[in-house]
Every structure is written in structure tokens, then in C-alpha cells.
């Protein structure tokens, strides 16, 4: 048995990772921090709707469910969800596409909302590109991504009367690898709550031979995913994939380019 001969506090302080920071990193006048300061001051100082401290109880209502990710992903829920039940009523099990202009606008709105939210991935967000976009009734879904595994997701009620009715997440996998040709994975899987309503979703990477992904759900029947650019995305109203039911993963039917299909389980 080894007992430390110097006290634990001294040893612990000697292991402070802050000692590893370079002097330039700590200087608020160096280029990066100085530019950040000017960006912050140029921004609207209106009270934050996200990050830091959430002061309005109703906002906490939006953070009710659980989205479990298999990657390093941050969940973000923005309030002011004006559509509510009416918007959910427009949801469709089969997605439709967005025009190029709509996709670009949706992507930029997603980027802006997440940047404004203060999520700790500002640089990655700015560098990411639209990777997938779809529509289900009044709802849009967009994925922003880069080649290194970072991705950001926004699901938005486009019928909302102003910006802000959005559910999303972002992050980078700790061990990102490209999916095998017939494999899918999940970067986002589970359910989340918005304004008293819930939604369940599965979003992730799809191998090059994957042409379709379908969820056989108990509450909404077959829900088809958008499959595009090596990714897939599907979601549906309700918390069928809540923390308990999705903990061990969910089964998705995957169709391949040779016409065959198989059931794959994606897990958080």
C-alpha cells in the first residue's frame, strides 16, 4: 500500500492542468480573445435565451426529455415554441425536401441560433457546412457538419411567429470513424421535450450502400428517414424513445443499394 508522504492538497495543486496553459492563451489582449471581446460587445446585449443560467421556469419545461447521443454532442433547446400542438399536427411520417435556398436559410438560422446560444463549439459551428435538410409539415430539420465528425442538428417549427422555436444538439465524437458501407450509427437518439410536447428522433451517419432507413414505431407506424450525403435523420412526435425505452437502442430497418434490407440496432 502506498501512502502519500506529502499532503494531498500539495500534490493535487501540482497537478493543476491550468499550469499547462501558455501565457499567450491567458492574455485577453492576444488576437483571439481580443477578437472575441469585440464580437461579444457588437452583439445584442439582450438577455440570453440559452446557456449560462436559465432563469425562466418555462424554459426548463422545454428541457424535459432525454436525448442520448452516441457522440460528443450538446443538446440545445430554445424556447418560444409558438406552434405547439398545431405544428405537431402537420408532421408527416415521410419527409419532403427543402429547396436549395430553403436549406441554406435553414442551415444559417441553425448556425446562428446555436452560436447565439453559447455552446462551446463556436469555431466548429462557423466552419461546418449543411449536410442534410428535410421538411415534415411545418417542421424543418437540418444537420450541419464537417469532415472531422462534428455535427450540429436543428429541428425547428417553421410556423413559429419568430425565431427561437428550435430543438437541437451539436458536438464531436470522441472516437469518430466513418461508417462501413452497410452500417448506420446514431449521433442523436432518444426523446426531448419542447413546451410540454415531446419528440423522438434518430440522426446519424449512414454507410455508402444505405439507401433507406425506416423506424417501425408503435405510436406513428412506419417513419421514413431522409438519407442523404452519408447521413440519415428521422423524428416523430411523442416520447416513444424515452430514456427507458431507448437506453438499449432502437431497431431501424435499413435498405441497401442492392435491394436487400436488414434490421440494425442503433444505440446511444
Amino acid at each position: 500500500m502506498t501512502t502519500p508522504r506529502t499532503d494531498l492538497v500539495t500534490a493535487l495543486r501540482s497537478l493543476d492542468p491550468a499550469h499547462e496553459l501558455e501565457t499567450l492563451t491567458l492574455d485577453p489582449r492576444s488576437p483571439g480573445p481580443d477578437a472575441a471581446l469585440e464580437r461579444i460587445i457588437a452583439s445584442d446585449p439582450a438577455p440570453s435565451r440559452l446557456a449560462g443560467e436559465r432563469r425562466t421556469p418555462s424554459r426548463r419545461l422545454l428541457v424535459g426529455g432525454v436525448i442520448v447521443a452516441t457522440t460528443t454532442v450538446a443538446a440545445v433547446v430554445l424556447p418560444q415554441f409558438y406552434g405547439g400542438n398545431q405544428a405537431f399536427a402537420t408532421w408527416t411520417a415521410s419527409p419532403s425536401g427543402l429547396t436549395k435556398a430553403e436549406a441554406a436559410e435553414t442551415a444559417e438560422n441553425c448556425r446562428k441560433e446555436l452560436l447565439d446560444g453559447g455552446t462551446g463549439y463556436s469555431a466548429a459551428l462557423r466552419a461546418s457546412q449543411p449536410a442534410l435538410a428535410e421538411r415534415r409539415g411545418a417542421w424543418s430539420l437540418v444537420v450541419l457538419a464537417d469532415d472531422g465528425g462534428f455535427s450540429a442538428l436543428c429541428v425547428r417549427d417553421e410556423s413559429a411567429v419568430s425565431m427561437g422555436g428550435m430543438f437541437g444538439g451539436l458536438g464531436t465524437p470522441t472516437d469518430f470513424v466513418t461508417s462501413a458501407p452497410r452500417e448506420i450509427d446514431a449521433t442523436d437518439l432518444g426523446s426531448g421535450g419542447i413546451d410540454g410536447e415531446s419528440l423522438s428522433l434518430a440522426v446519424g451517419h449512414a454507410g455508402s450502400e444505405v439507401t433507406a432507413v425506416v423506424a417501425h414505431t408503435r405510436t406513428h407506424g412506419d417513419v421514413e428517414a431522409t438519407v442523404s450525403g452519408g447521413r440519415y435523420a428521422l423524428w416523430f412526435p411523442g416520447d416513444e424513445w424515452n430514456d427507458d425505452t431507448a437506453r438499449d437502442g432502437v431497431d431501424l430497418e435499413v435498405t441497401y443499394s442492392d435491394g436487400t434490407s436488414a434490421t440494425q440496432r442503433v444505440a446511444p
Binding site: 446585449p45 440570453s48 426529455g65 443538446a75 455552446t119
Partner: protein, 197 residues
């Protein structure tokens, strides 16, 4: 319609706060996120501070705890998983385990041994215990300030801290001989950055 002019006092006050607190928040963040994310996390935290500047406590120590609390929540908001609203794991610096001290060696060697033991014991601590110890020892906050960062009562924090100290001591004392340790001492794993919505 143009926006009303921004009060110069507010901007000046924020610039001063930024200059005086930037390094402190970088150190706080560096204990909790990989080095590559420190600058982003601090920038995002200051964005929140900018929007909530009116809530900045007048007392300097309370202000420091308030800033740490915002930074902590910014990091938590960037994570996904069931632990989002729970504790934030704290990492330690790497320490080489190549120089095993021998009996009768100097205090400096004792410190090397203690660093190895503490680094290995730290990995066995829960995130709650890591966070409590880090706030008290590394961030050098009082119980009152640390409690404010965590949003709990000072009494509850002191209880957590006491348990954390006891847990670290137990882990350190129950470690195998140094010779059995890996070449690089065990460290707290990188944050998994998983949060729940």
C-alpha cells in the same frame, strides 16, 4: 427604427471585467475541458456575462463565483447525456511515472510519489467528488463561493467536500505499489460531452 444607444458605462464595465477575469476563467475552463476548447468555452461564457452584466455581484469574490457558475453551466450545456445537469468531471495534468522514488529519497521525490498516487486516485473519484475538490483546492473558492457555483447550500457543499476528501484519501491509500502503475499515471478521462435535453 434604430436601436437605443448603448450605455458607455456598460461597455466599459464589461471590458474591464473581461480584462481582469479572462485568465481566471481560462484556468477554470482548462480544468474541465480539453485545451483546444478553452478559448471557445470562455468566449461563450463571456457572451452570457455580457447579456447578464446587470446581475454581476458587486463583491469581487462573489463576482468570481458568479463567473465560474456561468462558465460551468456553459460547459454543461455543451454536453449531452443523462449527466448534463449533474457534476462536471475535472481533469488533472499528466504526470510521468518513470521516476519511482526509493526509500529515503528527498521531499521532491515524495511529491512525485504523491502526484502519481493522487493522479491515480483522482480517476477513481466520482465527478461530484472531483468537482467539489477542484472548486476548493484548484479554483480556491470558499465553501460559500463554491456552493454558489454549484447552486447548492454551503452546508451541502461542505458535506460533499468532506466526503470527497475522504474518498480521495481512501482511493490513494488503497492503490497498488507504484511499480504496478502504468508508465503514464492515470488521468481523469476527457469529458464525454454528453448531455440530455
Amino acid at each position: 427604427m434604430s436601436s437605443p444607444p448603448r450605455a458607455p458605462d456598460r461597455e466599459t464595465r464589461f471590458r474591464t471585467l473581461y480584462a481582469e477575469s479572462y485568465a481566471d476563467l481560462c484556468r477554470f475552463a482548462a480544468r474541465r475541458v480539453p485545451p483546444s476548447r478553452v478559448e471557445d468555452v470562455v468566449a461563450d461564457a463571456f457572451l452570457v456575462v455580457w447579456r447578464r452584466l446587470d446581475d454581476l455581484p458587486a463583491d469581487l469574490d462573489d463576482a468570481r463565483a458568479w463567473l465560474f457558475g456561468i462558465t460551468r453551466r456553459t460547459i454543461l450545456n455543451s454536453r449531452r447525456g443523462v449527466a448534463r445537469q449533474q457534476a462536471l468531471a475535472v481533469r488533472l495534468a499528466e504526470v510521468a511515472a518513470t521516476q519511482h522514488p526509493q526509500a529515503g529519497q528527498s521531499w521532491a521525490d515524495d511529491l512525485v510519489a504523491s502526484r502519481l498516487d493522487v493522479a491515480a486516485g483522482w480517476q477513481r473519484l466520482s465527478a461530484v467528488h472531483q468537482e467539489s475538490l477542484a472548486l476548493a483546492v484548484l479554483d480556491e473558492l470558499t465553501s460559500h463561493q463554491a456552493a454558489r457555483v454549484l447552486g447548492i447550500s454551503p452546508v451541502a457543499f461542505r458535506l460533499r467536500l468532506s466526503r470527497a476528501r475522504r474518498a480521495l484519501r481512501l482511493h490513494v491509500d488503497s492503490l497498488p505499489q507504484l511499480a504496478q502503475l502504468p508508465r503514464r499515471a492515470a488521468l481523469a478521462p476527457p469529458l464525454t460531452d454528453r448531455i440530455s435535453s
